[in-house]
């Protein structure tokens, strides 16, 4: 099962490679990983999307916690978090397909951020399933380039997770 895990880390030298090494060294999967500083100085937050059975997920959580630079680990179970991803999509848009691309962009509440006579570049955000859906519609029209950030996640409700 796919899990989204948030990891709060000290912004120390090499912390990303420690986390990445842990996953590769122990044979855990990473579907996506994103990392950036938080609002508290010295801290970064990683969002890791991973897969595995309960036993593996338990090990992933424990092993992450064991890293000296890791402050906190939260495994968001289904529904407890909102996750969003950003995608930049360069798509062929010529003649009759130009209008079709615009319609799809409109339906998905995405944005055109660059235009040429032969292409559109689209910015789309949403949960990863929504990104998958817009890509599925755009692919037949000619997908030239795709960049996805991977998910970031935040817990639902009023309670904030410091950092």
């Amino acid at each position: 099962m796919q899990h989204t895990i948030s990891v709060l880390v000290e912004n120390e030298f090499g912390v990303l490679s420690r986390v990445a090494n842990l996953f590769s060294g122990r044979g855990f999967n990473i579907d996506s990983l994103s990392v950036a500083p938080t609002n508290e100085e010295g801290l970064s937050r990683m969002t890791i999307v991973t897969r595995g059975d309960d036993k593996i997920l338990e090990q992933i959580n424990k092993q992450l916690n064991k890293l000296i630079d890791v402050l906190k680990v939260i495994d968001f179970t289904d529904g407890s978090a909102i996750d969003r991803e950003l995608a930049l999509i360069k798509v062929t848009a010529e003649d009759e397909s130009r209008a079709e691309v615009l319609r799809i962009v409109d339906i998905f509440r995405a944005k055109i951020i660059d235009v040429t006579p032969k292409s559109y570049t689209i910015e789309a955000t949403g949960n990863p399933l929504k990104i998958d859906a817009i890509l599925e519609l755009l692919r037949p029209l000619g997908l030239k380039e795709l960049v996805r950030t991977g998910s970031v996640a935040i817990g639902r409700g009023a309670k904030g997770w410091k950092g």
Binding site: V9, G14, Q63, N65, I68, D69, L71
Partner: protein
């Protein structure tokens, strides 16, 4: 007072109570060595290879319980420490390794003797630091020692660029250290302990299954006290040997691949396993699907990742083993009558175990014409001091030592259990002897492993470290040969060390003494003579070449499917 970074490093070591370091000079640590020249509070031992220096620091740490310290220069010096670091990591040994690094502005430029040692050692260190400012040295060293020795101990590497060794600042050593992201859970949850205790009192066939955590956590007395209170039999892993007296009637000896028949049978038939500071390694459990099928499992460990990693656990207790065992003893004392009753109820279980002990005791067929390795081990035990420290290499001799030496005290066996590092024994003994000049330190090796760090003979002689080196010589890489005999139709591919080495002359070449014999009736004489010598000695015993380590659980088989005679 202002001082340079190199001097600050030494002052930090002194503040941490370090009295001995094992190190090898080189271009990027030359400033540290220059400061060391006039720094008399720290004894520096120069090994002949950085790997040996790291193993020596490891042996020092295992024997004393203190943090072992090794120094190496950048590049090849640093990479030579890797096997030593990985060995320590697998067995949770507290160490701090200081490596020189090229000057900060050159890092990443493929400078001479530059290597990304932090990257290389990331998977085999508990943590690592790159010092980037002279003002950070003191805090980083404080943290390094704190991390190395607390929680589940382990090696910490500090990479120290040359320009920072030269830079100057005030030296202030921090009184305390606080790492907000590192808070090992040391206190076992009282309710979990109570629950565990209730579970034990309901059981009929309990086993205490004890690992290196009890040795590292200095909890051998507590373990022995609890086992005696409850009357529960104890089996230990290789790393746990010595945490419970091997001579105690409740001792089942070692379990696992080359464990005692009674220990493996007791595990298989038990209804509760109390795992303390052990991690259900594959060499211990055999085939997981059939491991201890009737047992509930209580697992006490300071490292949460050890729990439920390999086997299902009915009751986890995360905490320092000594704290948890102390709490269990308190529980036992609260309900003395119940405990007495429980202990008496275990008679049928003890009888069943006694039956296994009688049926297949650890044994071997002795010979009057050829030396049996097991006989040498028994003689060593008989003739050595009670507090002698034994180190081993890896292979057959290691298992024979584990089976037949019957360790009674913690920290008297130094052996590479997790990584299984050949070449460990001699330098580890060197480290232990440096810590305890007055104690008998013996390393038991095979002819294969001893040659992996034989150059340390020079270090022993130079530093007057009177380690007694026992070589059980079968001119084979015996353990692999045993596997080839049993599972590969005796196709002895590259396991025969055909060139006979004259170990007596070799000892003499280094300025040490050497004895050699192939006669069983000379074994005792040689050992006695060697023990009388004031300096290091090699004792070579030419042993029965194709003697096997038995019993043996073949890889992938269940614990109770032991090969007893082959």
């Amino acid at each position: 007072m202002k001082m340079n970074g190199a001097r600050i490093m030494l002052e930090c070591l002194k503040k941490e109570g370090v009295d001995t370091v094992f190190g090898y000079p080189g271009g990027t640590v030359i400033n540290i060595y220059d400061e060391l020249f006039s720094f008399k509070e720290i004894r520096h031992i120069l090994p002949r290879h950085e790997q040996a220096g790291t193993h020596a620091a490891d042996g020092y740490a295992r024997a004393t319980g203190k943090v072992g310290v090794a120094i190496a220069t950048s590049g090849p010096g640093a990479t030579n420490t890797v096997t030593g670091i990985a060995t320590a990591y697998m067995d949770s040994i507290p160490m701090v390794i200081v490596t020189g690094q090229v000057p900060t502005p050159l890092i990443g430029n493929d400078a001479f003797q530059e290597v990304d040692i932090i990257g290389i050692t990331r998977p085999c260190t508990k943590h690592s630091f790159l010092i980037r400012d002279v003002r950070d040295i003191a805090m980083i060293m404080k943290k390094a020692f704190f991390i190395a020795r607390t929680g589940r101990p382990g090696p910490v590497l500090v990479d120290f660029p040359k320009d920072i060794q030269v830079a100057q600042t005030e030296f202030v050593y921090p009184e305390t250290v606080e790492i907000r992201s590192y808070k090992p859970n040391l206190e076992g949850h009282p309710r979990q302990v109570e629950k565990a205790f209730r579970m034990i009192l309901e059981s009929h066939k309990p086993v205490l299954y004890v690992g290196g955590g009890v040795v590292l956590g200095d909890a051998a007395d507590q373990l022995t006290a609890l086992a005696h209170r409850l009357g529960v039999p104890v089996t230990t892993t290789l790393m746990g040997l010595g945490s419970f007296p091997g001579d105690d009637p409740l001792s089942l000896g070692m379990l696992g691949m080359h464990g005692a028949y009674c220990a493996n049978m007791a595990m298989t038939h038990s209804d509760i396993i109390i795992a303390v500071g052990s991690r259900f390694d594959d060499r211990v459990t055999g085939k997981l699907a059939t491991f201890a099928p009737h047992a509930k499992i209580i697992h006490v460990d300071v490292d949460p990742t050890s729990i439920k990693k390999n086997v299902r656990v009915d009751l986890p207790i995360v905490g320092d083993v000594r704290d948890v065992l102390d709490k269990m003893i308190k529980q036992a004392d609260k309900v003395k009558d119940k405990v007495t009753e429980y202990s008496a109820s275990l008679v049928p279980w003890h009888e069943e175990i006694a039956g296994w002990k009688v049926k297949h005791p650890l044994s071997y067929k002795n010979s009057s014409s050829i030396i049996k390795p097991q006989f040498v081990i028994q003689k060593l035990r008989e003739l050595s001091d009670d507090d002698a420290i034994i180190s081993t290499d890896v292979g057959q001799h290691q298992m024979w030592t584990a089976q037949f030496f019957r360790f009674n005290r913690p920290r008297t066996l130094l052996t590479s259990g997790g990584l299984g590092t050949m070449g460990y024994g001699l330098p580890a003994a060197m480290g232990a002897q440096a810590a305890y000049p007055g104690r008998q330190v013996i390393t038991i090796c095979g002819d294969g492993g001893v040659q992996m760090n034989i150059q340390e003979m020079a270090t022993l002689v130079q530093n007057k470290l009177p380690v007694k080196i026992v070589i059980l010589n079968n001119n084979f890489l015996g353990m692999v040969r045993q596997w080839q005999e049993l599972f590969f139709d005796k196709r002895y591919s590259q396991t025969c060390m055909e060139l006979p080495i004259d170990f007596v002359k070799l000892a003499e070449a280094y300025g040490a003494k050497g004895f050699s014999t192939a006669k069983p009736n000379e074994v005792e004489k040689v050992i006695k003579q060697a023990f009388k010598e004031k300096g290091p000695v090699i004792m070579e015993f030419k042993i029965a070449r194709e003697e096997k380590v038995l019993p043996m659980v073949p890889a992938g088989a269940s614990l109770n499917e032991m090969v007893l005679n082959a």
